[in-house]
């Protein structure tokens, strides 16, 4: 049951009504049952694995709480996190032709961060297994994050959440916006990208150029759309999940892109549980470069057992190291410099996305060489291609997205909306809903990040 399905929206509406109708002390149980039922709609076997990983983490957490000897604690952490990561390694890379288990990468990282936090003394072990299970399985974040940390989430389970009209409205706004990004933009761009990237040696170079730009927005709208629906639906239930995206294509450097704007829950996970333990930036420069590269390579491999992801991770590491090196210099910081920085950063990101999207390394190289090789003719041909109806509509929708995000960059759009008179605000909601109905692609296109 995907977020972009009517069955999800209907079940969610029913859940919200029941959730607020029952006493607070029973709500965690309702959410846990709903989360497991939701996961079981993909496969009952997934629930078994989820239960296994949850149980191992729970027991390891309790053991950490009971152990005082440092070596014992280290051993418990190593065995607990090792078992979770072993399950991740076995089931995430099951072999060619076998689909990876949806959500495993995300809840495994939640479990590992929980154990690391308990081990580091930042969090007491959770004794209530039901609440702990809900932390791992909470359905809005289960399949593709945000990779929530245990402390803030567990605190919210125990707090009594009253029905808050403001919170519910904000949550529904986010759900609506996420659906718009997914079904109106991402799923409209997906077939064009698929056609070009499916046969990169046969597709016209102009299509490869357009498909590469389109993929940047397809991926962003798909993944951030998912995150918005996740954060929004959690908000409706009275939970605050961490922000996952912050208008990433306005980044003025690769460093900013990764540290402040793109997939923040994963980036901060790698920062806190990989980069910082390696010494972070408080080490000699060469070691620091190695640390950054190690983090990005690990991030690449986390995405899949394919050389394309390794190169993608490596390139991002390289660009981030270069970006960090430039940060200390006397770079101009005016408006034009920032715009130029954003344009350059966006195109560096585009190059990395070619490797991320291509099926093989050879395909990625074919795309880049074909685009570079036809540089003289590709621009006029791309302009001609832009004049076809569907492509033009796609570009227009991307422009609308960037326009709204541009306003959001200055002052959050939702706070602007709140200040608008009611008729204007409702008109905006109706426009968004109508665009979903009239322009949306409702063929249940899967979210891209569900396969990671």
């Amino acid at each position: 049951m995907l977020f972009n399905s009517f069955s999800f929206l209907a079940c969610f509406a029913a859940l919200v009504v029941v959730y607020y109708a029952i006493p607070h002390r029973r709500r965690w149980a309702l959410l846990l049952v709903a989360s497991l039922a939701y996961y079981a709609t993909f496969s009952a076997a997934y629930v078994v694995l989820l239960a296994g990983v949850t149980l191992v983490t729970y027991v390891a957490g309790l053991s950490l709480g009971n152990a005082s000897d440092r070596r014992v604690r280290n051993a418990i952490l190593a065995s607990g996190a090792g078992a979770v990561l072993a399950a991740l390694a076995v089931f995430k890379y099951p072999g060619p032709g076998i689909a990876a288990i949806a959500g495993l990468s995300f809840y495994s990282f939640s479990c590992v961060s929980y154990l690391a936090d308990v081990h580091g003394g930042r969090l007491p072990p959770v004794r209530h297994i039901g609440r702990f299970a809900l932390y791992v399985a909470f359905f809005p974040k289960l399949l593709a994050g945000p990779i929530e940390r245990a402390r803030p989430f567990l605190a919210q389970i125990t707090q009594a959440a009253h029905f808050s009209p403001g919170g519910v409205t904000l949550g529904l706004q986010l759900v609506l916006w996420g659906l718009f990004k997914k079904v109106v933009i991402a799923d409209r761009l997906a077939p064009f990208v698929e056609r070009a990237y499916g046969q990169p040696s046969l597709a016209p170079a102009a299509d490869l150029v357009l498909a590469t730009y389109f993929f940047a927005f397809q991926l962003y709208c798909d993944f951030s759309g998912y995150s918005d629906i996740a954060i929004g639906s959690a908000k409706v239930l009275g939970f605050d999940l961490m922000e996952n995206f912050r208008r990433p294509y306005f980044s003025t450097s690769m460093r900013e892109f990764w540290s402040q704007r793109w997939h923040l829950s994963l980036a901060s996970w790698f920062r806190d549980y990989r980069y910082v333990p390696l010494g972070g930036s408080r080490v000699p420069r060469a070691r620091h470069v190695l640390n950054v590269m190690a983090v990005f390579m690990a991030s690449g491999i986390w995405h899949g057992a394919n050389w394309t992801f390794v190169v993608w991770g490596g390139l991002n590491g390289l660009f981030t190291v270069m970006s960090t090196a430039l940060t200390g210099t006397n770079m101009p910081r005016g408006f034009i410099a920032r715009v130029l920085g954003a344009v350059v950063t966006f195109h560096l990101v585009l190059i990395t996305w070619v490797f991320f999207r291509a099926d093989t390394l050879a395909d990625a190289i074919t795309i880049l060489t074909r685009v570079a090789g036809s540089a003289a003719t590709v621009v006029p041909l791309t302009v001609v291609r832009l004049q076809t109806g569907d492509v033009m509509l796609s570009v227009l929708l991307i422009a609308v997205l960037l326009g709204i995000e541009g306003f959001d960059e200055v002052r959050p759009v939702w706070s602007r909306l709140t200040a608008w008179p009611l008729p204007l605000r409702w008109a905006a909601y109706y426009a968004l809903i109508l665009s979903l109905i009239v322009l949306g692609t409702w063929n249940l296109e899967q979210f891209v990040y569900l396969r990671f």
């Binding site: 029905f163 009209p165 409702w426 909601y429 109706y430 809903i433 109905i437 009239v438 692609t441 409702w442």
Partner: protein, 315 residues
């Protein structure tokens, strides 16, 4: 707290009500778009058919659809001097034909139904239940309470029927402004196909996604027999023909001899005239792809086979 919640619920109700009014306006606007752009949609054709009575209704899948491409139906009407409505649906098996016929008879009358038999359409639920459940089939069907009732009453089409009533797939149709003409009719109908063995094989695999399952075939034949019985009960004559198929494609059709024998028994049981015209005008030059007649092929088939059969059947 309670006042705040009550106010929120009140606003939510208003929001939904106004939303429903806006949706109704969009629905009405979309019906106008359908009225302007729908041409080939069979439900649209039935609702807007100018005559109460037709001499012939042609049912079948894509091999019958070519009889209605461009001016072919007008030519056939001129050759036979009869009023003809072509209700064939690309990829439409006997269950689709039954629905269309039920809808047609709710509004019009017919003397003879010509069923164009495609064996593939009897062998897969994709061409029967699958096609009926495909909301694209109704994307250009104008709203008609009669059709809505037919769709909602039938368990197979209930979900698609609810979608048709609500109008979601119709409003969401990305091709709402595109000409309602099949791509083959627009682009390929005048062409001549040069056979490629691999494409022939791929076509057969496409037509028989579940292979040649005798149980599925028998279920489809039961549907056909029920259709014949219901038409004969209303005094409608029923004749069946097999359309031209290139010899090399015929050789690739799985279990075709067995199918022919079985369907002949059904027709004999119901007293239906069955004309196997698969070998008529079936030279390669008469096809625009692996198995569909091109313009020259259709005209040749009309002259040499279909028109004489129709005239003979009514005399």
């Amino acid at each position: 707290m309670h006042t705040e919640v009550r106010a929120f619920v009140g606003r939510a109700v208003w929001f939904v009500l106004i939303g429903l009014v806006i949706y109704g306006a969009v629905y009405a606007a979309n019906e106008r778009v359908i009225a302007q752009h729908a041409q080939r949609n069979r439900f649209f054709a039935i609702k807007n058919a100018p005559h109460d009575r037709y001499d012939y209704v042609i049912l079948g899948a894509s091999h019958a659809a070519v009889f209605g491409y461009r001016d072919m139906n007008t030519r056939l009407e001129q050759m036979t001097g009869a009023r003809i409505m072509n209700l064939s649906v690309v990829g439409g098996g006997v269950m689709v034909a039954r629905l269309l016929m039920e809808y047609f008879l709710a509004r019009h009358d017919v003397g003879t139904v010509v069923y164009v038999v495609d064996s593939f359409a009897f062998y897969s639920s994709r061409w029967n239940e699958g096609r009926l459940q495909d909301t694209a089939l109704y994307a250009r069907a104008p709203f008609d309470p009669m059709l809505a009732a037919l769709l909602v009453r039938n368990p197979v089409t209930r979900t698609a029927g609810l979608d048709y009533v609500v109008g979601f797939s119709k409003i969401n149709n990305p091709d709402r402004f595109a000409p309602d003409v099949l791509p083959d009719e627009g682009n390929r109908f005048d062409r001549t196909y040069r056979p490629v063995p691999q494409i022939d094989r791929e076509r057969i695999n496409y037509l028989y996604p579940q292979g040649a399952d005798a149980r599925v075939r028998d279920r489809s034949l039961n549907e056909l027999e029920a259709l014949i019985a219901s038409l004969q009960g209303r005094g409608v004559r029923f004749i069946a023909i097999k359309p031209p198929i290139p010899s090399r494609m015929q050789a690739l059709l799985p279990l075709e001899d067995g199918f022919n024998a079985t369907i002949r028994r059904v027709f004999e049981r119901r007293g239906v005239a069955f004309h196997d015209l698969s070998g008529v005008a079936n030279e390669d030059r008469h096809f625009y792809d692996t198995d569909h007649l091109n313009r020259a092929g259709v005209l040749r088939f009309f002259e040499t086979a279909l028109v004489p059969v129709l005239k003979y059947s009514t005399n």
